[in-house]
């Protein structure tokens, strides 16, 4: 079991409010990602759940029990740190088994559990090595092994993949997701990378300035962003925002269209006219950065190759069903 509920959780360091009241329901077994720009409070929120920081107000309920006064080890959670925080003088076996040793388990039981965890993570050949003799990806797996061996109610991941190179990150992303599904343990994962968030999460929490902006499944966030911030943060390349006359015509202060929902018309006269400033040809996609005069810079995405180049004139036609409308305070307007 690992159902976690936050009720009005607040955190301030002196006069600075980092978390301004967070309410959240995390279902047992789900993979929840906290995503947001740096300084948004996502790591602080994770540390509050872990118990490494004390809350300034509100409740953290794990399986029906308020744990705000429970020390970290007693909350039944385990954490994977950004720097891995492996114990450098202990072997892989010692690192993975340390929590069990502290819990006072018998030596042969520790060995059995450590070996089972190592087998799950393909670490068996490295059990007697020191962390400094391992590669980045292996260290990462040791850190994960240390987390799973204690059979916690939930895993907490604090940007665990940010120290890996791009190829390894994609691979570990898949491994972590698969492992979590296989174990069925609740996971909370902090990242600033919205691609990681979109690919790994069952549900995403978008944080900004210490507030939860939106909580929902990845596609919900993509298709129905609650406000300008979420609309801009989720999706790559970023959503185009247009203000002024065009927005007012549709009864909104701002309208947003994702680059993939702009139809590119070479010599059309309808839609939004502009000149290509930069064209990026990736083979699978073509990204056009279009200078649309009074509308500003617009980004358009075409699936496949499109032989257009800088300086060419194009017309961009937004898909009317896929236009997002926002009021003056940035909240989404629904039809």
């Amino acid at each position: 079991m690992g159902q976690i509920t936050l009720q009005g959780v607040q955190k301030s360091f002196g006069p600075v409010h980092i978390i301004k009241g967070a309410d959240l329901e995390i279902a047992d077994g789900s993979f929840v990602v906290f995503v947001g720009p740096s300084g948004c409070g996502k790591t602080t929120l994770l540390r509050l759940i872990a118990g490494l920081e004390d809350v300034s107000g509100g409740k953290i309920v794990i399986d029906g029990k308020n744990v705000v006064d429970t020390p970290p080890a007693k909350r039944g959670l385990s954490m994977v740190f950004q720097s891995y925080a492996l114990y450098p003088h202990m072997s892989v076996r010692g690192n993975i088994g340390f929590g069990l040793k502290m819990a006072g388990l018998a030596r042969d039981e520790i060995n059995r559990k450590v070996e089972a965890a190592a087998a799950t993570l393909n670490l068996t050949p490295y059990l007697d090595r020191k962390p400094r003799e391992l590669s980045g990806g292996q260290r990462q797996r040791v850190a994960i092994g240390r987390a799973i061996v204690r059979e916690p109610k939930a895993f907490l991941f604090d940007e665990p993949l940010s120290n890996l190179d791009a190829a390894l990150r994609v691979q570990m992303r898949i491994e972590v997701t698969r492992l979590q599904k296989q174990l069925g343990t609740t996971a909370i994962y902090v990242t600033h990378d919205q691609v990681e968030a979109m690919t790994m999460a069952d549900k995403i929490v978008v944080l900004n300035g210490g507030k939860i902006e939106q909580y929902g499944s990845p596609l919900e966030l993509y298709e129905r962003p609650a406000n300008l911030f979420v609309a801009g943060f989720i999706g790559s390349p970023k959503m185009n925002f247009v203000t002024g006359e065009l927005a007012l015509q549709r009864g909104a202060a701002t309208i947003g269209v994702r680059p993939e929902h702009l139809k590119i018309d070479r010599d059309g006269t309808g839609g939004w006219q502009g000149t290509i400033a930069v064209a990026e040809h990736l083979g699978s996609d073509t990204f056009l950065y279009v200078d649309a005069g009074p509308l500003g810079m617009l980004t358009a995405r075409y699936i496949g190759e499109l032989s257009l180049h800088a300086g060419d004139h194009v017309s961009l036609v937004p898909d009317p069903a896929r236009i997002h409308r926002f009021d003056a305070s940035g909240n989404a307007l629904r039809n």
């Binding site: 872990a50 490494l52 020390p71 970290p72 080890a73 007693k74 959670l77 385990s78 954490m79 740190f81 950004q82 720097s83 925080a85 492996l86 114990y87 450098p88 003088h89 202990m90 340390f98 929590g99 502290m102 819990a103 240390r146 204690r150």
Partner: protein, 290 residues
């Protein structure tokens, strides 16, 4: 520095410095070896004559030699043990956020900057004096008999003074090591359910293994040659109870005016220092390997 040309250039530029250092070391060493083979007494100038290894036989069979060797080892061992055993808790305390931390650190470091002669005088006359010392006054407050430190516990008194001087060094090295301990490691241990004591034993102490080694090696070099504290306080006595090798060599040369025997003693001290260093590196040196 890869080509043959730059290597030649580097060597020729380094030669004067290396040569000077070499002469600086080799001349005193050669002279000491030379003197150690002479009958050379300052009381009887002009009578120098070659006597082979007689000075070594004399120095090594002198009962004072074994006594002073033992004193040297007791002094070095005790000061090492005390500075590390007291230095670790002090460093742990100073690592905590307290008001006026910088001032506290400055105060703790201060003894290291006091000259050995000065600190020995302060301890002798202001603290440990059996009549007018602070300790005597404290004892009298509790109606106890003041301890006559330099007569009753002479070696222990010297150990205390030297420990006071070297404690800041140990504390400082250990403190900087503590500050480099990754905060996330401590948090990981906390998540793993380690108590403060377990965290100290399993995380902090292993992290301190290397700085402790550094403290042991550096302090040993200096503690083998403690002199000023003994000279100022006890003068090696009563009897031989505070005479270490360094002081014994001094007394051979400048109390008994026997330069030959003192030179032999100096060479014996070099050998002893090397033996100690050899065993130390064997015992603790592997902590230094990355």
């Amino acid at each position: 520095m890869a080509t043959r040309q730059t290597q030649t250039l580097a060597r020729s530029l380094l030669t004067p410095a290396v040569g000077l250092l070499f002469i600086w070391m080799i001349v005193p060493l050669a002279l000491t070896i030379y003197f150690s083979t002479l009958h050379y007494s300052l009381l009887d100038p002009g009578s120098e004559s070659f006597i082979g290894l007689e000075n070594f036989r004399y120095f090594l069979t002198d009962p004072a030699f074994l006594a002073s060797l033992q004193n040297t080892l007791v002094l070095v061992g005790s000061v090492l043990a005390l500075t590390i055993l007291l230095g670790i808790p002090l460093a742990l305390l100073m690592d905590q956020p307290v008001i006026g931390r910088n001032f506290v650190r400055l105060m703790v470091i201060a003894p290291f900057f006091v000259m050995p002669t000065v600190s020995a005088l302060v301890w002798k006359n202001l603290l440990m004096h059996p009549v007018s010392g602070l300790f005597a006054w404290l004892a009298s407050l509790f109606h106890l008999t003041p301890i006559d430190w330099f007569n009753d516990l002479p070696l222990f008194a010297v150990i205390l003074i030297v420990t006071w001087q070297w404690l800041p060094f140990a504390t400082l090295i250990l403190l900087t090591a503590l500050q480099s301990l990754d905060e996330e490691q401590k948090e990981a241990a906390e998540m793993d359910g380690a108590s403060a004591v377990s965290t100290f034993i399993y995380i902090t102490l292993p992290h301190l293994a290397r700085p402790i080694t550094v403290v042991i090696l550096i302090e040993t070099i200096f503690l083998l040659t403690v002199f000023a504290e003994i000279y100022v306080t006890t003068g090696g006595g009563p009897g031989l109870s505070t005479t270490n090798i360094a002081f014994l060599i001094y007394s051979q040369a400048l109390i008994q005016f026997d330069v030959g025997s003192a030179s032999a003693g100096g060479l014996v001290a070099v050998v002893i220092a090397n033996v100690v260093a050899f065993f130390l590196v064997r015992i603790v040196g592997r902590n230094l390997e990355a």
